[in-house]
Each structure stands twice: as structure tokens, then as C-alpha cells.
């Protein structure tokens, strides 16, 4: 470490932490938003080094944080400063930290680390909590449309796009969700709707209330979004 500058770091980012926020409003990012930022990296050594930037994801999956440039190994001259440009895409809500580590020459340990931090708010799907088919004669069929959407909020206040997965249905088998929903991952943007049809066809003489639950998961919130289906059979 001979020749290191007074501040002790061979390489140094212009800041240790970048808290990503919306460009226009300054508010926290939404889900599925992609932002690009630039910081600088300085060589504090009194000699040229061959540096490298590596993305380190501590808790998240790969591919969210990407260094646009410089990529691969690059030369950083004595006292030189270089711009480091990166993109980050939020894919779920809550605190998330990733790092860009800068190392040089043959040192495997990073000489400097930049934390990229985001705190997207959760966003719930808007849609009915329950769809009641009412009284339907035994053997007859009743159709309803169920629509899910994302709240339309000012840019930066809400999600950019979220993924919605239909997890399946539980309960009475008199209810049937259209085939197109099953097992699919749907992308939803604010203002756009996800509409699907549900059929209720009660069989048997039992006149008690029939119930089923549709379950949806998303990267925008914890737990599940549920739609309860209810209906009653009546004799023809």
C-alpha cells in the first residue's frame, strides 16, 4: 500500500452511498423503475493502476445493478478521475443495497466500494376483494369479469411496472377461472388493467353459500392479493 494518499484509500469513489430517488420529484423510486447515475472514481496512488469494477449483490438477485462503463479492466493513471456510469432497476419494494466494488492490479479485495441504495414503497393491486355471483340455478352458468389494476400516481410516486402471477384458486370447484390466467406472469403498468373472466356453475342441491379464493402474488407487495368468489345455488 506504499504510496497511498493521505486519506488512506488507493481508489476512491466520489461518494460512498448513492440513495436512488426519482429524477423529477425527488421521491423514492417505484417498483420496476430504471434509473441511471454517474459517480467518479479516483486513483489516489502515485502510479498508474489497472482497475476493475465488479457488481456485488448482497441480498438481491443478479442483473439489477449494471455498470454501463467503464467495463472490464481499464487503466487509471496517477491521480486520474474517471466517470463510472451505472443503471439500477428496482424489482421489489423495501430497502435494497447493492455495491460496486473497485479493485486494482492483482488485488482481489476491493479498494473502494460504492453502495447503491433504494427504498421503493410497496404498491397494492386495486381490485375487488369479493365478487358475488348471487343466486344461480343449479346447473346454470354465471360469468363475471374481475379487473385488477395499479393505482395511477404521479410519476415517481408509484410503480413503473410490476409483475403479477396468478397462484391458483382454492375452495369450491363450482368456480372456474379462464384458462388464460392460469400459471402466467403478467406485467402491469399504472393505468393498465388486468381483466379475466370467472365462471360460476353450481351443481347439486346444496343451497349453502359456495366460496372460493383466487390468489395473486406480485413483486410490488408482500403476501398475496386475494379475490373471494361467492355464490349460491338455487333449485331451478
Amino acid at each position: 500500500m506504499a504510496g497511498a494518499a493521505d486519506d488512506g484509500a488507493a481508489l476512491k469513489f466520489s461518494q460512498e452511498l448513492v440513495h436512488l430517488k426519482d429524477d423529477r420529484t425527488g421521491s423514492e423510486l417505484g417498483i420496476g423503475c430504471k434509473v441511471t447515475r454517474t459517480v467518479t472514481l479516483k486513483n489516489n496512488l502515485e502510479r498508474s493502476v489497472r482497475a476493475q469494477l465488479v457488481v456485488r449483490d448482497t441480498q438481491l438477485g443478479p442483473g439489477l445493478l449494471q455498470v454501463i462503463g467503464p467495463r472490464g479492466r481499464f487503466d487509471l493513471l496517477n491521480d486520474q478521475t474517471i466517470k463510472v456510469r451505472f443503471t439500477y432497476e428496482t424489482q421489489h419494494h423495501g430497502d435494497q443495497s447493492m455495491f460496486i466494488d473497485a479493485s486494482f492490479d492483482s488485488f482481489s479485495r476491493p479498494a473502494a466500494s460504492l453502495e447503491v441504495f433504494a427504498r421503493p414503497e410497496p404498491a397494492m393491486l386495486e381490485g375487488p376483494e369479493e365478487v358475488d355471483f348471487g343466486a344461480v340455478p343449479t346447473g346454470a352458468m354465471s360469468l363475471r369479469q374481475v379487473t385488477l389494476s395499479l393505482p395511477r400516481l404521479p410519476q415517481g410516486q408509484g410503480p413503473c411496472k410490476v409483475n403479477v402471477a396468478f397462484l391458483g384458486q382454492s375452495g369450491d370447484s363450482s368456480f372456474l377461472v379462464e384458462r388464460a390466467m392460469s400459471g402466467k406472469l403478467h406485467t402491469l403498468m399504472p393505468g393498465r388493467k388486468l381483466t379475466f373472466r370467472v365462471m360460476f356453475r353450481p351443481m347439486g342441491a346444496d343451497e349453502s353459500e359456495r366460496l372460493a379464493i383466487l390468489r395473486f402474488a406480485s413483486n410490488a407487495f408482500d403476501g398475496e392479493k386475494q379475490v373471494v368468489l361467492s355464490g349460491r345455488a338455487v333449485r331451478r
Partner: protein
Amino acid sequence: MQVLRTSFRTGLGSALLASLLLAGVSFSRAVGQEEPPRIRFSVDRIELVDDTSGGPLRIGCKVTRSVALTSQHNRSLKVDLRVRNAQIGPGFLHVLNPRGQFDLLDEQSLTVRFAFVTQKHGPQSMFIDAFVGGELRPTATLEVFANPDPAQVEAPDEVDFGFVNPGSAAVRQRLTLRLPEAPAGQGPCRLRLRVEGPAGDANFALEGVPDDGFVTLAPGPAQRVTLLVVFRVPEPFDRAEKQAVVTLSGDGLDAPRQVLLKGRLLVDPISFDPPAQLFFSQYELSFARTRVGAESTRTLVVRNNTNKPLTVIVRYQLGVQPPPSVEAPFFGLPANESSFELPARGTRSFDVVFRPPGPRGLGYRLESGWYAGPGAITFTPLTFFGEGFVETGPVRQRGQ
């Protein structure tokens, strides 16, 4: 000892001690002994509170904090940070940066950043130990303390199926869970749900629980998780009430919660009170022996055991006693072939009067059929029975 204490309280004592220490350090350097590594965190203990409110954390919160780690050593040290969790399981406290072994230069100050996720309520301490080189004991330790409040889960005390119709294989009811109090920063609460009962889960089951058996309950008055409780209808003639409990447990709760499940097979959509039930669907209302010319009254309560309104039609038939030509001496009942409405789970009362006619004492039996509908029309028989007697005076002896 007293003299020593006194001297240490004085400036002279302190100066003497400092001189001795300095002399020791100089001596150890002179003979080439290694100076013990000197690094320290900017604080010894950090208590985690909610970022927004400044209040205690809630279950499921994730907070990120930074402290400084400073070297006061006169040369570069190789340091690594390890998390030590004294009371709770791993995975709650993560050192985000720096990770692995790193160099801490002479007089250098480095930012240590860590994240903590609350998954249990109550006081909890974890530690970040800074180890230098091959040292076996940590050179510096940071205590990370949190005391999250337990989650306030809202659940019903019971799910009562009442009487279920024998015509169906299974019936369902909603079980809704909420976490209505949502202070800023509160995260979701994970709950495990389990059905326990004398017959295991033979009579009741839960539907809508994720495959891993855990339900994630997001905080907020508008948030809820709805599950379906399935009551498998018992076999015919199995009239006993079935019971089980759903137990909700999780690190976020201060104690497991239980929701009672109960239900029984519906045999009679209506039942009568107070008559004794003789056998399945056989009821009898008996009056005490009543003197001819007097009357006896009993209140008959007709009860709707179902969760839907019923129309009840009553039909009468005189029993074998007395002969059919004699009018029944029971009054206050609905007229023959008349009907009345019973709301769901509702009751209707009749003050039934037994007035035995003269001139002789006899037993009277009135049989009635109570037809409840709509839907599956069922028939519930009820028999009224009363006995009249003639009061006689004392027998006069011949010749008296």
C-alpha cells in the same frame, strides 16, 4: 490499600500511573514486542428505532445503519467483521459493507453498513465483532439492539358453522385475518396456521394457505388475508358437535392465537323447546295432570336452526286418544294448515294451553307435523299430550 486509593484520587497518583504506563509501552517497543491492535467502532451500542416515527420497530421492519470503524494502530491491519447473534437465529443482521477481509490502514476510518430485519418481538441484541488478523478474540464489538413490539393480529374468536345440511359434502366459511395497526415502518408478519382437533383435521381444513404453510399478513387497515375454513359434513346420524382450533403462531406474536371451529350436522331445520326429544326428529310436549275445568299452560318455542329464513306450515292430526270425533283440547297453537315465517336462527313462541273438557278425565294426544322450507322440505313431528282428571269430594259412608 486505603493509602493507595487516596493517592490515586490525587493528581500525583494519576501522573505516577501514566508515567508507569508510558514506560511500559516504551519498553515493549524497545524489545520488539507487538503492540496490541487498536481499532474501535464509533459507538459501542446502537439501538434501532423506526426511521420515520423514532418509536420502537415493529415486526418485519428492515433498517439500515452506518457506523464508523477507525484504526488507531500505527500500521495497516487485516480486519474482518463477523455477526454474532446471541439470542436469535441467524439471518437477521447482515453486514452490507465491507465484506470479507479488508485492509484498515493506519488512522483510517471506514464506514460499516449493516441491515437488520426484525422477525421477533421483544428485546434482542446482536453483535458485530471486528477481528484483526489471526486474533481469536474480537478487537472491537458493536452491539445492535432492537426491541420490536409484537404484532397485533386481528382474528375472530370462532368460526361457527351452526347446523349444516346433510345434503352437502363440505361447506365453507371465511376466516379473515388483519393487522390493522400499521405504524410507520411496520413490515409484514408471517404466520403459520395449523388445524388441530380431537379428530385431527378430519372435520375441518383450511384452504388458501400458501404451499409453505405460512401466511404473510401485510399491515394496514385495508389489508387482510382471507382463508376458507372447510367443514366436512359428518356422516348421517353423527349428530355430535365437531370442534377444532386453528392455531396461529409466528415470531411476531407474543403468544399463539386460537380460533375455535365448530359445526354439527343438521337433522332438524327446526327444533322445539322445552319438549324433550324422544328420538331423532321426535318431540313431545307434555302437560301436568290438569283438573277438568281448569287449564295448564306451557310455552312452546320453535327454533330455526339454519342460517336462512324458513316458512313453517303446521298440520295436525288427533291421536288415538280420544277418538277423532273429539276436538283437541290444546289452544294457542297456529291453525291447521297455516304458516308462519322464522328468520334465520330466529325463534317464535306459542303459549299453549291445555284445557281438558268434561265430564270425564281422559288422556289427550295431538300429533302435529311442522313442515319447514323452502328448499329441502323437512317434516318434524311434535306430539302434545295432556291428561285431565275429575276432582271428587270425600266419599260419604252409608248411614252417616
